[in-house]
Symmetry: C2
Subunit: 272 residues, 2 copies
């Protein structure tokens, strides 16, 4: 079954999307056609949103689902006249919070992804720059500054996980590959020897690695299932021998990997 | 006034955090001490969460605020016994959705940041790798593949915005600096001439740029307010002369910049 889903927000729509995504994935048997309508910040723009929603309603022959994060009450009231199930997130939660805190909300639009103060901004930027400069074994010298160093075979997810740790939590995350030479010798790359306590491994199922590597270099020995099996077995043996904790990344998103690492290492995040 | 805030989830807690953040920023006069408790996926783990929450309640002399995304009803019921205002997101929204869709929810934990199919995963990875390989004017040859090329002076936010476009939307975003030599000549870097339609500018207020550059190279002429003023004025003049649309990044987060660019360019996102 098909349904149209609209994420409507007076700002970026990122919160509305995340919210709606986590809800609609609970309904497996539907196919959702998704639209994001950001910057709906006036009754006029709300009318435009309604036109789009009502058009989908007529085309589908079904009411669309609308997940909204609208601070402004008149915009919210306007949107409510759409031919849709409108679930507004502020409408539901602001009242109990105002009552608990004994204070009115500020009704100010667009604060959730604030740029924050200069210090916080700088930490985020520094972490991102650090992670980019220390990707895939680059700039081994700077590893003393790393808060964590991800290790694993090529294409197991080290790069995006490092970047996400930097972007979301402000953590200086480096990553360093375990290459066939290291694996054959069962020795850690020498640049890592001084930083064993910071090492965290990523592993992956050979079948999945084979798929991922095949997208990049089809029919290469590098991507062959046999080679993927061999590399992963050797990498896991080495990580075990050196007491490096590791996660199996196969069924985890970048978000889940990063959060799990943050949680299991006990690293302090620098951003909220 | 101080209040403790807990983000509790059976998975990563990212949705609960984003939810709670957008709500508590509506209450300016409070200072919120934030804690994330991820992977609360059994009544036993819920008891541990409750212990932490109740300790904060006693220490603060005030009920903490708890924002939760818990699929499992028994975990949710357990958490509700904490000495806190518990606002669970699934509790509020699942019922109206089940009724609208005429179908029960799957009650499956942890689907919101799914790894997706191999195709989607590969698109996300390729975009991240592309954006890293085409950061700050590197690998000019690959720009034919870029979906967008961000331009602007050093430290105006190009790198994190490119990465976010790649990570969040799967867009191949390159970035290319406008350096003093280009600005003095009022000429676009030659590598960009073939790709004018893909160019999007970032600008920033001179005072903010001065602050940001000073963190990196204090007391340099590079960071001086006079130089920042000069560079930005020249960059904006050049972008106007070449018909390159640009955004002022000063008060925008990476999230807002990226979403605004997506919206204004009409680029198609590859991920939801």
């Amino acid at each position: 079954m098909k349904r149209s889903v609209f994420y409507v927000s007076d700002r970026t729509g990122i919160t509305a999307e995340m919210l709606g995504q986590s809800l609609i994935t609970q309904f497996d048997s539907f196919q959702f056609q998704r639209y994001t309508l950001p910057f709906i910040d006036s009754p006029e723009r709300a009318q435009e949103a309604i036109a789009a929603i009502n058009l989908a309603a007529r085309t589908d022959g079904q009411r669309p689902l609308v997940f909204s994060t609208l601070i402004n009450e008149s915009v919210r009231r306007t949107l409510r006249t759409a031919e849709a199930l409108v679930l507004d997130f502020f409408e539901v939660f602001i009242a109990p919070l105002e009552s608990e805190l004994g204070a009115p909300s500020s009704h100010a639009v667009g604060k959730s992804h604030g740029t924050g103060d200069l210090h916080t901004y700088t930490q985020r930027m520094n972490a991102i720059n650090f992670s980019m400069a220390h990707d895939d074994g680059a700039a081994g010298k700077g590893l003393s500054e790393a808060e964590i160093i991800l290790v694993g075979v090529s294409r197991c997810g080290k790069t995006p996980t490092s970047l996400y740790l930097a972007m979301q939590f402000g953590i200086k995350a480096a990553n360093y590959p375990l290459i066939p030479e290291d694996l054959d010798k069962q020795q850690l790359p020498s640049a890592l020897l001084a930083w064993r306590k910071k090492l965290w491994g990523l592993s992956i199922r050979p079948e999945r690695l084979h798929q991922i590597r095949s997208e990049r270099r089809p029919d290469s020995s590098y991507a062959s299932l046999a080679n993927c099996r061999h590399e992963i077995q050797a990498a896991e043996a080495m990580m075990r021998a050196h007491g490096i904790p590791f996660l199996e990344s196969t069924n985890m998103s970048i978000e889940e990997l990063s959060t799990t690492i943050l949680h299991q290492t006990g690293l302090a995040r620098h951003l909220y």
